[in-house]
């Protein structure tokens, strides 16, 4: 048979001459390094380098077009004593905490609702994500129009429901402005929470609920003792990620109020923009930006420890 003769006749070939490049690419260590090179270059150039530069800027007195001299912690002192900065600290904290709390609660509620089977579930789920998909500034513009002092459709609705008689100046009233901004943030972020928590809920076997029900637990108890603990890991990850994004939020406030009225909605990001880009005081702007860093550090450390602990389980 031709097959066996072909198979037997050939002497052992093996070891064709391989060039140095081929040998290099076969080595796990070199290949790994090479594959990660583009990433490391891009991230190094546009994240690590700016970060270092930002820190350096904050200890100089640079302005646009004017390279600065080293001034130590002077910027930090000035910024700390700046009353507007203090307002920004307060605003950002309130903004983050309140918005996150609502996003979590409402997101969870929506996730629980979506966890049941009903007709049109897939379509509903798809539409629910729209606030998150659509570019933030564009949907925020719609909200700005909805909040417009003269033409607000919300006011129209409330007026026709006989709930108000004089207009609500959603974005013009200092106290109300922060609330309005929080509302928009919750509107935008809630789908993200809902979808990820829904995915988490779907990994909880229904048999656990059934067993608990047979054991006599009512709906609320089942939630508290079965659902919530099993959902905690996903909840933590989502919340931590969302917190850092909310803390550093810029787009929403920029479009809705620009930081006003009277700094009622001024956040770190918008203030940094105003000072650094608006007035060109680069070093001070950089200093304000760095205010975000402590929270970032906390979140990162928490995530790392938490993930380490989850992985060792």
């Amino acid at each position: 048979m031709s097959f066996t003769t072909v198979a037997a006749a050939r002497p052992y070939v093996g070891a064709p001459r391989r060039g140095p490049l081929t040998r290099l690419l076969e080595d796990e260590r070199w290949l790994g390094g090479l594959l990660l090179l583009p990433t490391v270059v891009l991230l190094g150039l546009f994240i690590a380098y700016p970060f270092v530069k930002g820190v350096m800027l904050s200890v100089t007195d640079a302005r646009v077009g004017v390279p600065g001299h080293f001034v130590g912690l002077q910027n930090f002192e000035e910024v700390w004593n700046d009353s507007i900065f203090r307002i920004a600290v307060w605003n950002t904290c309130v903004y983050t905490l309140v918005a996150t709390a609502f996003k979590l609660a409402l997101g969870l509620w929506l996730a629980v609702l979506l966890n049941r089977h009903f007709r049109g579930k897939a379509i509903t789920r798809a539409f629910i994500l729209l606030p998150f998909i659509v570019p933030t500034v564009l949907s925020t513009l719609a909200w700005k129009w909805m909040f417009d002092p003269t033409f607000s459709v919300i006011n129209w609705i409330l007026f026709h429901l006989d709930l108000i008689h004089s207009r609500i100046n959603w974005l013009g009233e200092p106290n109300l402005a922060l609330i309005s901004v929080i509302i928009v943030n919750v509107w935008r972020g809630l789908p993200f929470y809902a979808i990820t928590l829904l995915a988490g809920l779907q990994t909880i076997s229904p048999e656990l609920h059934e067993a608990a029900a047979i054991d006599g637990a009512r709906a609320w108890q089942r939630f508290r003792h079965v659902t919530w603990p099993l959902l905690l890991p996903v909840t933590l990850v989502v919340t931590l990620f969302s917190v850092i994004q909310t803390f550093a939020d810029f787009q929403l406030v920029y479009v809705l109020t620009g930081g006003g009225p009277a700094n009622a909605t001024q956040l770190f990001a918008t203030y940094a923009y105003q000072i650094g880009i608006g007035t060109g005081l680069l070093s001070q702007g950089a200093t304000i930006s760095l205010a975000v860093f402590p929270v970032l550090l906390l979140v990162v450390i928490f995530q790392l420890f938490y993930i380490r602990r989850v992985e060792t389980h």
Partner: protein, 283 residues
């Protein structure tokens, strides 16, 4: 499990769910309606009588027409599309290679690099935009789309890498081992065997990266200044306000048309998008 009477189902399920859906989607409805309403119907104070804001009997395309012909909207659309596609391509490239390296290869700094990339994922643009503005200027990239094409990957790559890592981990390593014995070099086994199998993951990551690029605002605002270079989000918010007057018809038309490409892409790949959102959290 809401057992029992119909009223319970209505109170605890249908009413809340419908409320959520209505509240979440109303602003988009408002966008559409405003775009189609003629100017004379738009500017009616909130407490005027005989006024139904939710519908119009005289829909008009004039806002859209004005938007497309009298502003640079189409240019912005083109810019944003090019930037989003390029940034997505770069990020997918880096994410694919990096994800493979971190999940399938053993080498000394793998753990460290993986953690570092994870950390960069958390760094918000707000922290970096001021020094970055300076750096962009020094590289002579200011006011050009390259400034964004090169900086957007900074928040896209970590996510793509992460997602691809998850995907690769689910592919049995025997496939590569077999390919290598069959005669493929390591990198060939990666390209011919692993990557084709991971195409669903690549799609998911790509869609998500695309939508994230469209959404970016701060860098675009800070790095671009000429009207002709701007992206849709920046253009619509800055150029459509003349003086102190807001042309809401055109603004909403801009908002609507600016959202459509993203929503369109999203609609085809909903499953993939949801997979990547949940994948990003499961990490």
């Amino acid at each position: 499990m809401i057992e029992g009477a119909t009223w319970r189902r209505w109170v605890f399920f249908y009413v809340p769910l419908t409320s959520f859906v209505v509240l979440l989607l109303f602003p988009f409805y408002w966008m559409v309606i405003t775009t189609l309403r003629p100017d004379r119907e738009l500017y009616r104070p909130w407490n005027s009588v005989n006024y139904n804001p939710f519908w119009t009997w005289h829909p008009t395309l004039s806002h859209i027409r004005d938007l497309l012909t009298q502003t640079l909207f189409t240019t912005w659309l083109m810019n944003t599309m090019i930037i989003a596609l390029s940034a997505t391509a770069i990020s997918l490239f880096c994410g694919l290679l990096g994800g493979y390296a971190l999940s399938r290869l053993q080498f000394r700094f793998a753990g460290l690099l993986g953690t570092a990339i994870f950390i960069t994922y958390l760094v918000p643009q707000t922290l970096l935009f001021i020094p970055l503005a300076d750096i962009i200027r020094n590289f002579h990239l200011g006011d050009s789309r390259w400034a964004l094409i090169l900086t957007y990957p900074t928040f896209l790559i970590p996510f793509c890498t992460w997602l691809m890592m998850g995907y690769f981990k689910s592919i049995p390593k025997e496939l590569e081992e077999c390919a290598r014995i069959d005669g493929a070099a390591r990198w060939k086994a990666m390209v011919y065997i692993i990557f084709p199998i991971a195409i669903p993951g690549i799609l998911s990551a790509g869609i998500f990266a695309f939508t994230l690029s469209w959404n970016e605002f701060l860098y675009a605002l800070v790095f671009l200044s000429s009207p002709g270079e701007k992206t849709v989000p920046v253009g619509v918010t800055s150029e459509l306000i003349r003086g102190d007057v807001f042309y809401w018809g055109e603004l909403m038309a801009g908002a609507l048309l600016g959202s459509i490409p993203v929503a369109f892409v999203y609609s085809f790949f909903v499953e993939h998008y949801v997979a990547s959102v949940t994948g990003s959290v499961k990490g």
